[in-house]
Subunit: 452 residues, 2 copies
C-alpha cells in the first residue's frame, strides 16, 4: 500500500462533496470552530502575538484579513500565521487524542484568513475544514507515536498538510495540483518539541497554516512538486519517522471522520489534571464548599499526573499549569479553571497558597488517564469523596454545546465584550449557512481599543 | 561538548568583527557574491520563478526589494524567497564540497533583500555573509552525511540557520536574541530530497532565506525560543540526524573559514561530468577541432559518472544535464557548457546528436572524482589524448576571477544586456566598499522589458 498514498489522499480530497458530509460531522465542525475561535480571540492580546505582529506586520501585503480579536488587518498569509499562533497560546485548543494533534488551528486559521481574500461559502468552508482535519490527523496517525517521540511537534508537521489540503479544496485544484500542494507541504514541516515552554511552540500551528496556504497557492500557479511526497523513499514519512502505517491514511476515506474523535479542553491546563479539577468542582458545587471549611485534600491520580504536573509551589501563571496542587486549590475556591485561574495573580493569592498547602497527591496505578479520586476532610470532621471515571472533555464525556458556549464567553468576553462575543459565537454555530465564511472573521474584529 | 553548542555559535556570530576578517576571506566573499548574483539573474526568467511570483506577489508588502534580473519589487521576505529560488534554478550555484551545501543562496538572498529595507554597509554585509555561510556549513558538517543520506536537502535545512545568523548579525542581536533566532530557524527546516527534479528543489534555498530572515526579525521583537535548539535532546541535530559531531560546529571558530572551501561550477550540469567537459574543451581549443574531423571519442571516467549521468540519448534540456555523452559532444562543438548548451534546442541539434553517437564511455575505478581521460581518434587517423587530473572548478584548480567574470556575463548578459551586466558585476567585486549593499540589488533590477 506504499505506492499511491499521496495520490489516494489527494484524489479523496479533490472529489469529496460537501453534501456527502454526515450531519454529525457538520455539527462537530461547528463545535470545533467555536472552540478554535474562542481560543484565538482569547489569546489575541498575549505578548506572543504582540511580538509576532511587531516583527512581521511591516511586511504585510494588502490587509484583507482579520486578526481575530484585534484591530490589525493583514494579508491572508500573515493573518493565518497570527490566528494560528493565538489559537494555541493558552494551550486551550482542541486535541485529537490518538495523535495529540491540535487539529483546528492550522486548518481553520488558513481557511478563514483566505475567505476574506477570496469568498468561501459556509458549506464549502465546512467541507474544506473537515477534509483538512482528516488529512492532518490521518498522516499523523500513520507515524504516531514514533514521529512524536523523536521530537517533532506533530501539530506543526502535519498541520501544514491539513492547511494545504483545505485551501487546495477551496481553490478547486485537480488531483495533480493537489498532489503538488501536498508535496510543497511535505517539504516545509514546522516544529520541534524542544520549543515547548517558549513562544515558538505557538508559532508552530500558525506557521503550518501559513505554509499550507502558500503551498496550495503555489500549486495552483503551476509550481511543480513531487506527486509521492508522503510515501516516496525520501518522502515525508520515511524522513520524519522511523515507522509508518499507510493503511491509516488510505483506508476508510469518506467512511469515518477523524473530526469525530476531536476533544475540547474545559480547563486551561494540561489534560492530565482535568479529572482532578472536574472532581473538585463537582464537590464544591454539590456541597457549597468554601476554603475555610476544608481541612485537608487527598488526591489519588494517574502516575502521569505527578510526572508532568507535580510542581508543589509554582511561582508564575505558566508554572501553575503544571501544578495539580494549584489546580485543585483554585478549582475548589473559584469553581473554575480557565485562563484567569492560571494567572500570575492567582498563583500568588494567599488564600490559594494556603489551601494548596493542605493538598496532597498520591499515585494510583489502577486509575485510567481520564479518572481521579478526590477525598476532602472538612474542619467539622466529615469526609467527602468523589470518583471521576471520565473527566469532562474526554471522548466518553464530551463538553456539551452549552459548555463550549461558556468556554467561548470566558475567552472572548474580556476581549470583545459580551455582545460582540455573542454575535461571533452565533456565526460560529451558523458557519455552514453563511454566504461567506469571512463574515465570521469580520464579526471577530476588534474595532477601536481593547476593553479594559 | 553537547552542552553549549548553540550558545557558542551565537556568541561567536555576535562578537565577530568585520575588521578581523582575513583578506582572503573577504575576497572569497566577493567571488561567491559574483557567482550567486550571476546565477540569480540568469535564472530570473525561468518558469519556476514566474510561477512563484504569480502565486505570491499578490500578498507582498511594500515593494522595497528587488527581484534580481526582473522588474518586480517585493517586500524583503518575498524578495529573499524569489532570489533564493532563481539562484538555484539552473543548479549552477556554488558548492561546499564537504557537505554538498550550496551556501550563498540562503544567506545572500536574505541579506540583499533586507539591505533594501534597512541599509547595510558593504563591509557589514560581507561580514554577515561570511558568518552566515560559516554557521550553515558548520551545522551541516556536524550531521553530514547521515542527515543528507536520510533524505534532507541540506541546503534548505541548514540554510535557514545561515540566513538567521546573517540577518541577526546585521540587526545587532545580543547572544540571547541570536540564540532565539537560531531556535526559530531550527524549528523551520526546509527541504526533502524527494523534491529533486521538480520546481520545489529550487524552492528550498529560497524558503530557507525567507524563513531565516523571519526568524531573526521575530527574535529581534522578543519572540522567545529555545536557547539550545541545535544540541538539546529534542533539538535539531537529534531530531534530524542519526549522528552528529558538535566539535565540527564549535572548534576553531574565527580560525578557519568554510567559505574558503567553497567552489563554483564552470559548467551548468552535474559536477561529476566537469572533468570530461574540461578535457574536451582543452583538446578542442588546442587542436582547433571541428566535429567533421572527429571519428570517435572514448571517455574514461569515475564510476559515479555513468551511474549519475549515463543517459545515452537525452530528449530534453534537463535530461541532457544527466548525459556525459551530450556534454562531451557539445563541449567539443561549442567549446562551452553553459545553460544554452543544455537547452532543448541544443539537445536536438542534428550535429550534436551525430557527434554524440560517436562517443563511448568506460569506467576507470582508478580515477578520482575530479579526474577524467579523453581519447579522440581523428578522421586522419591521429589519436589525441588528454588527462585531466583536477577539473576546473575543483578546490585544487579553482575558477579564476576571469572565469567567474565570463560565467557571470554568460548568465546575466541575456537578461540585462552587456552594459548593465558589467555594472552589476563591478558592484559585486566592490561589495565590501559599497556604502549600502542595496546598491548591488538596485543595479541588477530590470527596468523595462526583458531583452529579446
Amino acid at each position: 500500500m506504499a505506492e499511491r498514498v499521496t495520490h489516494t489522499l489527494a484524489d479523496y480530497v479533490v472529489h469529496a462533496k460537501a453534501n456527502a458530509l454526515p450531519a454529525a460531522v457538520r455539527k462537530e465542525a461547528a463545535r470545533a470552530i467555536v472552540n478554535w475561535a474562542g481560543c484565538a480571540i482569547g489569546g489575541s492580546h498575549h505578548e506572543t502575538l504582540d511580538a509576532a505582529i511587531a516583527a512581521l506586520a511591516p511586511f504585510s501585503g494588502p490587509g484583507t484579513s482579520s486578526v481575530l480579536g484585534r484591530s490589525e488587518r493583514l494579508d491572508p498569509l500573515l493573518a493565518a500565521l497570527m490566528n494560528g499562533i493565538s489559537s494555541h497560546v493558552f494551550d486551550f485548543d482542541d486535541t485529537h487524542l490518538q495523535t495529540v494533534i491540535h487539529p483546528a488551528g492550522p486548518v481553520a486559521s488558513a481557511l478563514l484568513a483566505f475567505a476574506e481574500y477570496r469568498p468561501i461559502a459556509g458549506i464549502d468552508f465546512v467541507n474544506a475544514f473537515v477534509l483538512g482535519v482528516e488529512v492532518e490527523c490521518r498522516i499523523g496517525m500513520a507515524v504516531f507515536p514514533e514521529h512524536y517521540d523523536v521530537g517533532w511537534h506533530i501539530t506543526g508537521t502535519t498541520g501544514v498538510f491539513g492547511a494545504a489540503a483545505a485551501i487546495g479544496k477551496v481553490l478547486g485544484l485537480d488531483v495533480q495540483h493537489m498532489s503538488w500542494a501536498l508535496g510543497l507541504a511535505a517539504t516545509q514541516p514546522v516544529g520541534l518539541r524542544e520549543m515547548f515552554g517558549t513562544m515558538t511552540k505557538s508559532f508552530h500551528p500558525g506557521r503550518s497554516a501559513q505554509n499550507g496556504l502558500a503551498a496550495a497557492l503555489l500549486a495552483e500557479s503551476g509550481f511543480t512538486s513531487s506527486e509521492r511526497a508522503i510515501e516516496a523513499p525520501r518522502g515525508w514519512a520515511n524522513v520524519l519517522s522511523v515507522a509508518r502505517n499507510y493503511d491509516l491514511i488510505t483506508q476508510g476515506l469518506g467512511e469515518r471522520y477523524e473530526l469525530l474523535a476531536n476533544t475540547y479542553k474545559p480547563f486551561a491546563c494540561g489534560i492530565v489534571i482535568h479529572p482532578t479539577i472536574d472532581g473538585c468542582i463537582q464537590l464544591r458545587d454539590a456541597e457549597h464548599l468554601t476554603p475555610d471549611r476544608i481541612k485537608t485534600v487527598v488526591l489519588r491520580v494517574h502516575p502521569l499526573v505527578l510526572e508532568l504536573t507535580g510542581k508543589k509551589a509554582p511561582q508564575t501563571g505558566l508554572e501553575s499549569k503544571f501544578s495539580v496542587y494549584h489546580a485543585a486549590a483554585i478549582a475548589l475556591i473559584e469553581g473554575a479553571a480557565g485562563e484567569p485561574q492560571f494567572s500570575d495573580s492567582a498563583v500568588n493569592d494567599p488564600n490559594v497558597i494556603a489551601l494548596r498547602e493542605r493538598i496532597t497527591a498520591e499515585i494510583d496505578p489502577a486509575l485510567a488517564a481520564d479518572a481521579a479520586r478526590i477525598a476532602i476532610t472538612l474542619t467539622d470532621g466529615r469526609v467527602l469523596e468523589r470518583y471521576v471515571e471520565h473527566a469532562i472533555g474526554s471522548l466518553a464525556r464530551p463538553m456539551t454545546d452549552a459548555d463550549l458556549d461558556a468556554k467561548f464567553h470566558g475567552l472572548a468576553d474580556p476581549i470583545l465584550g459580551r455582545a460582540q462575543a455573542q454575535a461571533v459565537l452565533a456565526r460560529c454555530w451558523d458557519i455552514e449557512r453563511l454566504d461567506n465564511a469571512a463574515l465570521l472573521a469580520q464579526a471577530a474584529r476588534l474595532e477601536g481599543a481593547l476593553r479594559p
